[in-house]
Symmetry: C2
Subunit: 351 residues, 2 copies
């Protein structure tokens, strides 16, 4: 049974509740904290983009194409589709020798509503570059270069890239292999679904996702090239946290503040994964109802607050994300979103 | 324990689940269906706007101000903030002799994203008239006229209206009395919170909310003036269903199709209430996680499909709302939102 991890209060009453499960694991697979069912496969969605980006660096694509911190961070992102994200994705594709026409992620208006309104005010329409996954997909295209040949080799990369979202395409095989080798979970026995951006998503238990991120954070248990790739991706995101999310986004704000001490990444349907390298721990969260912004995010904030050594100001900074005041359209305080005492207790005991 | 009422599927696996409770009750208070806890007070939020609009008609405000079907429907609405909604709210205020400056609901961009983008493209900014509650608030202002005096009586209505959202204001006392007398629940012992639009919201058990809507649908158990008011509001919404929601909204689409046979109304945080006059039943739903669009809505669609006598085409129409195909940004089918077999079974047994 998954416990209540987050409560939404209105006045003096609990109005709504979010159930979920949480695994905190070290790189040897030892369980530090387990709440709820951590052995049922769940679709990690975008929470594993950093693991899916490992082949981009482990192959020589990142080196050969001179990918920058911004570009590597964007490959791990679910970004807001703001101008810097769009420009950076475009730059990655240009380095590979193609344009946005090869992207197979689909098109949606930017996640950031104020940016969507600004675009509308300018008479602009979204393109696949605004898709929150465009950086990940641009990264896949760069992996294709490493597998197939560089732009000056005379091959028609566009032909080779075509269909790169399909599970059996060589690019996606590399990506699945990275997911398998980092999490230690056999994907051939995993449930498979199609993600919002059309690539496969595999059902993986929280236990294995947390293990994957403990390894991602420490390098322990990864082959040497993968460990180096993990380190480079973590450093890139710490240096360019805006790229991984954008304006007002939890992942961006938290990593801007805490730097390399935490790598965290949201995924659709109430998913969150993180690495806490200092503690040697990986974290994986799944909210049963699929709620991200006000449930999974609050659990992640509470985990970071409890498990990471923070000074008083940093702890207060995190508290603003784990205990959130709700205001109405008139700016009047009407309630709060809070981690449950049960969650805080479980984290305190093991901290 | 609240059971799982809705499942979100991805591929062949359940990705997320929504727990909730459901009460279906007749006007005598006899329970037809109860799933989960129906005796715990829940904040009904906007799901009871129709009950809160009873004083608008039971007083002589609606008659004296010659309120139209559009205007009465808008008083029961959580609308999209589209042009017809804004125009209609403005017209109600003009009849009362005031303008939008008296509205205390606050301002937000329209619920309908495409309309928000259109406004942004025209360089417009939202006003309180775009607030989804502006029609309800315009109705409150009209009630103030009935309590205080009409625009030609020489009083300064703006002074009297001021603070109408406060629990102790004469207008809000009328509104609370209507909620109390229709649901039969003593609000003095209810938890009280502040709603998104700043009026009080009282914790009322689903059992009493469903009872209130059974009475709203049949008139049974209401005083004569209230029963007439309920009938007029139901007829107005059936004639002007666009006003109660707007483009692509469940309440609008369902009532456009089924007319006076159903009155249904969404509320924030996973609330839904409905009257099925033909069956003499009231319905109240609360999703534990507060999810509206993909959880409460699917439960309501399943209830209507199961409990209302429908022809084959109508049943198919409702099925599109109770069993929803999920597509990704490329239009590829990736999953479904579905009422659980447990919910369908409970409804079939009692249908």
């Amino acid at each position: 049974m998954n416990p209540v991890l987050v409560e939404a209060w209105r006045g003096d009453a609990v109005e709504s509740e979010h159930l979920g499960s949480l695994a905190v694991i070290d790189a040897d697979g030892a369980v530090a904290i387990a709440l709820g069912d951590i052995d049922r496969p769940v679709f990690p969605r975008s929470a594993v983009k950093a693991l899916q980006a490992l082949p981009l660096v482990e192959s020589d694509a990142a080196d050969r194409l001179h990918l920058t911190d911004d570009e590597l961070a964007l490959a791990c992102a679910s970004h807001n589709g703001e101008a810097p994200h769009v420009r950076t994705a475009q730059g990655m594709l240009a380095k590979a020798g193609v344009d946005a026409g090869v992207l197979e992620c689909g098109t949606h208006w930017p996640y950031l509503e104020s940016w969507t309104r600004e675009m509308a005010a300018r008479g602009e329409k979204p393109t696949p570059l605004n898709n929150n996954c465009s950086g990940k997909h641009a990264g896949f295209v760069c992996v294709a270069c490493a597998l197939m040949g560089w732009k000056d080799s005379g091959i028609d990369l566009r032909q080779y890239v075509k269909g790169y979202v399909k599970p059996d395409h060589p690019v996606m095989r590399e990506v699945s292999e990275a997911l398998h080798s980092s999490t230690g979970f056999d994907l051939s026995r995993a449930p498979r679904g199609t993600d919002g951006c059309s690539i496969p998503t595999y059902g993986i238990p929280l236990r294995h996702l947390a293990l994957g991120f403990a390894r991602f954070g420490t390098g322990a248990g990864l082959r040497a090239g993968q460990a180096r790739a993990a380190r480079r991706l973590r450093q890139a995101v710490a240096k360019s946290p805006f790229m991984v999310g954008g304006t007002d986004r939890f992942d961006t704000l938290v990593m801007q503040r805490l730097g390399e001490r935490v790598f965290c990444k949201v995924g659709a349907e109430g998913m969150y994964c993180a690495a806490l390298p200092q503690r040697g721990l990986g974290v994986a969260i799944k909210m049963r109802d699929g709620n991200n912004s006000r449930a999974a995010e609050i659990v992640m904030a509470t985990v970071i607050e409890a498990l990471l050594p923070l000074d008083a100001e940093e702890a207060e900074f995190m508290r603003d994300f784990s205990d959130v005041t709700l205001k109405n359209w008139n700016g009047i305080e009407v309630g709060a979103l809070r981690a449950t005492p049960a969650l805080r207790r479980a984290l305190t005991l093991r901290a």
